[in-house]
Symmetry: C2
Subunit: 269 residues, 2 copies
C-alpha cells in the first residue's frame, strides 16, 4: 500500500527532499475518477463519523500544517464538508494574542482539543511554535529541542488518554505557491485572502523546509505519525487526506454503543 | 409571504396555541419536491456563507430550542451539513458544570458567541435557564422576569455590536414525541440517544408549553425575533429553517470585500 511510504513513524531515515510535492502517488491517473473516489470516501467517512459520535468513547485530532496557499482551508472544504457539523469542529490558530502569549505555547492548544466523540481539525497548530519562530530565530536551537520534547510529551499524553492524532504536512513546491499567489492577485474576489506577509515568509522558503524537516523528524512516532501529503495537485491532496482518514477509521473501528435490554420493557405514556 | 406569520417580533398578541405543530405551511404538498427545495436552498446558503466568511464583518447566531426529540440535531444535519466546516460551529449546551454554575447563567453563553464571519448554531441555549428551571420551580416568577430582561439586554448588546440573532422554536406535539421516543426504543442502534429523563420531562408537557410561550412573549423583538417552526414533519421543519436562513441572508446581503488596487502591481518572486 503506497500510503505507508508517506507515513512517518520515526525520524531516523526521514528526509523531506525524498518527497516530490508534484507527485500523485495515490492517483489512478484520471482526474474525474480521482474526484469520484474522493466523494465515495468522503461519504463513507461521514457514515463512520456518525458512529464515532454515537460511540462517544474516543477523540480524533487532525492537524493540518503547510506553507501559505498549501491548501489547509481547501482540504477542510474538500474532505470534511459532507460531515455532520455536530461531530466536527475546525480550529484555526493565528498569531497568538497577548492573553495566549502570557501562557506556555501549549495552553491555547490544550483548550481546543477534541472531547469524547468529537473530531477536531487544527488549521495550523502548536507546530507554528517550532516553525515560524525557528525560521526567524525568535527561539534558539536549544529552546526548539526543548519544545520538540514538550510536544512529544503533550501528544503522547493526549494519545494515552484516548485521542487519536493524525498530522498532515501539505507539501507544495515554491513554484506552485507562486502560481497560487498570482492567481489570488489576479482575482479581485480573492484579494481578501491575500496577505502581503505571505510574500515576506516566502523569501525564507529553504529555512521553512529545514524547520519542517526538523519538526517532522523530532515528532514522528508510531502513535502520532506525520503524513507528508504531496499537494501541488489539489485533487491529489484531498484524495490522500481522505485515504488517510479512511485508514484511521479502519483502525478505530467505531461501533454503536450496546443496546440497553432494560429499554425493551420501557413504555412511553 | 406565509413565513411572516411564524415570525414573532412582539409578545403582544402571541399565543402558542395558535400554532399547529402538525401543519406544513411552507410545503408545496409533495414531499419529494419539498426535499428538492431544501437541497436547492441549502446549496444557495452554502454559497452565501462563503461570502459571509470572506466579508469578515458580521456574525450570525442561530438558536435552536425545542422539546426532546423535536429535531434540533436533525435540523443541523438537514440544513447545515453542506456548509463549509470552516465557517460554521455548533455548540450544544447541556446541564451546566460546577464551573459554569459558579457564574451567572449568561457566562457560558457569552464564551461561545460567533466571531466575525462566523455562523454559530446553539443546540439549546440560555433559554434553558427560563424553561426547565421555571417548570420545576427552581426559580420563581420574579427571578424569571429578571432573566427575561437580562436576556433581552444581552441579545440587544450582541445585535448592536454586529451579530444577527435568529431564534427557532421547533414545535412538536406531545403525540409526535411519543412516536419518536417509541422509535428510539424499538431500534437498538438508537438506544444511545435514549435518556430516561426525557420521560420524566414529558410528564410536564403543559408546563413546558406555558414556559415556552412566556419566554417567546418576553423576548421577541423586531431585532431578535423568534420563529415558531411546525416540526411534526421533519421535512417541513428543515424546509422552514432553510427558508428562514435564506430570508436572513437576503437581508444581510453579504459581499466580498472590495478589491485592493495596490495588489494590481504586486509581483511574486
Amino acid at each position: 500500500m503506497p500510503l505507508d511510504d508517506f507515513r512517518i513513524t520515526s525520524g531516523k531515515r526521514f528526509r523531506l527532499a525524498d518527497f516530490d510535492p508534484g507527485s500523485k502517488p495515490l492517483s489512478c491517473g484520471k482526474k474525474e475518477e480521482d474526484l469520484a473516489r474522493i466523494i465515495e470516501l468522503s461519504n463513507a467517512l461521514d457514515a463512520q463519523q456518525d458512529i464515532f459520535y454515537a460511540e462517544h468513547r474516543r477523540r480524533l485530532l487532525v492537524v493540518l500544517q503547510g506553507m501559505d496557499t498549501s491548501g489547509k482551508d481547501g482540504t477542510v472544504r474538500g474532505v470534511f464538508r459532507s460531515f455532520d457539523p455536530l461531530g466536527i469542529r475546525v480550529v484555526g490558530f493565528k498569531s497568538p494574542s497577548p492573553e495566549e502569549l502570557a501562557r506556555d505555547f501549549l495552553w491555547r492548544i490544550h483548550l481546543q482539543v477534541p472531547k469524547t466523540g468529537e473530531i477536531v481539525v487544527f488549521n495550523r497548530s502548536h507546530y507554528e511554535d517550532v516553525l515560524i519562530t525557528r525560521v526567524h530565530n525568535w527561539i534558539d536551537a536549544a529552546e526548539c529541542e526543548r519544545r520538540f520534547r514538550q510536544i512529544r510529551d503533550f501528544e503522547s499524553m493526549l494519545t494515552e488518554t484516548g485521542t487519536t492524532i493524525v498530522k498532515c504536512f501539505l507539501h507544495i513546491s515554491r513554484d506552485e505557491q507562486k502560481a497560487r499567489l498570482e492567481a489570488r492577485l489576479a482575482d479581485p474576489e480573492k484579494h481578501w485572502k491575500f496577505d502581503t506577509n505571505d510574500l515576506a515568509q516566502r523569501k525564507h522558503w529553504k529555512a521553512y523546509m529545514d524547520a519542517y524537516e526538523a519538526a517532522i523528524m523530532a515528532t514522528s512516532t508510531p502513535e502520532c505519525p506525520w503524513y507528508v501529503v504531496p499537494a501541488d495537485s489539489k485533487t491529489h491532496r484531498n484524495l490522500m487526506v481522505a485515504e488517510i482518514l479512511t485508514r484511521v477509521f479502519e483502525d478505530l473501528k467505531p461501533a454503536y454503543p450496546p443496546a440497553r435490554p432494560e429499554l425493551a420493557s420501557t413504555k412511553v405514556d
